[in-house]
Amino acid sequence: MSGSADLVTPALLLSLGLFAIGVVGVFLRRNVITVFMCVELMLNAVNLAFVAFSRWRGTLDGQVLVFFVLTVAAAEAAVGLAIIIAAQRNKDTLDLDAFNLLKW
């Protein structure tokens, strides 16, 4: 895996593309869980940017940061989905428009 080919710029473009797709998904989709998955997609795009920069700079800090992003993502998924389940039990729907109150 020597770095003869320059893959940094394509990787950043890919990261950008995934991020944009994630953003559009967050805007367009109605299901909370799908929106959540789009957020995960954006997180992954960021991870990719970290890895690409890590390769460009030749340092490893980017990779260590990915480690922590993964941890945050795991914590976020656990709590977020717990909230979604609790909310679904109250509202009996997963439509985002139904969750428009801070308190119920």
């Binding site: 895996m1 480690f67 993964l70 941890t71 795991a74 914590a75 998924a77 656990a78 989905l81 717990a82 389940i85």
Partner: protein
């Protein structure tokens, strides 16, 4: 020199090819002739009741969630074990604090009954 991940790609391709080949061959040889009774969902001979797209106990979900969090914990164990000989006592104490904090969460989950079935 070939990159060392290439054999794994080949292995994946071979395994995939094998499974697709087998499935297609058996599809061609087996000649499916579905009838209403045959393609009915199997419920020990009884007429099926409702659909299988049922809700299931939240237990499964809860355990899965705890699994995720401890999976991250395991993911941290790996690199730590790799360089442990260099870290020595410092690394041991570092991980002890980490595990201690997580362990208190584990004890909480245990006491609350999240681990009971």
């Amino acid at each position: 020199m070939l990159p060392n991940y290439v054999p794994i790609l080949i292995l994946g391709a071979v395994a995939l090819g094998f499974s697709v080949f087998t499935l297609v061959l058996s599809h061609l040889l087996g000649r499916p002739r579905p009838t209403a009774a045959k393609s009915e969902v199997y419920e020990c001979g009884m007429p099926p009741i409702g659909t299988a797209r049922e809700r299931f106990p939240i237990k499964f979900y809860l355990v899965c969630m705890i699994f995720i969090l401890f999976d991250v914990d395991a993911a941290f164990f790996y690199p730590w074990a790799l360089v442990f000989r260099e870290l020595g006592v410092f690394g041991f104490v570092e991980m002890l604090v980490f595990v201690g904090l997580l362990g208190s969460g584990f004890v909480y989950a245990w006491k609350v009954g999240a681990l009971d079935w």
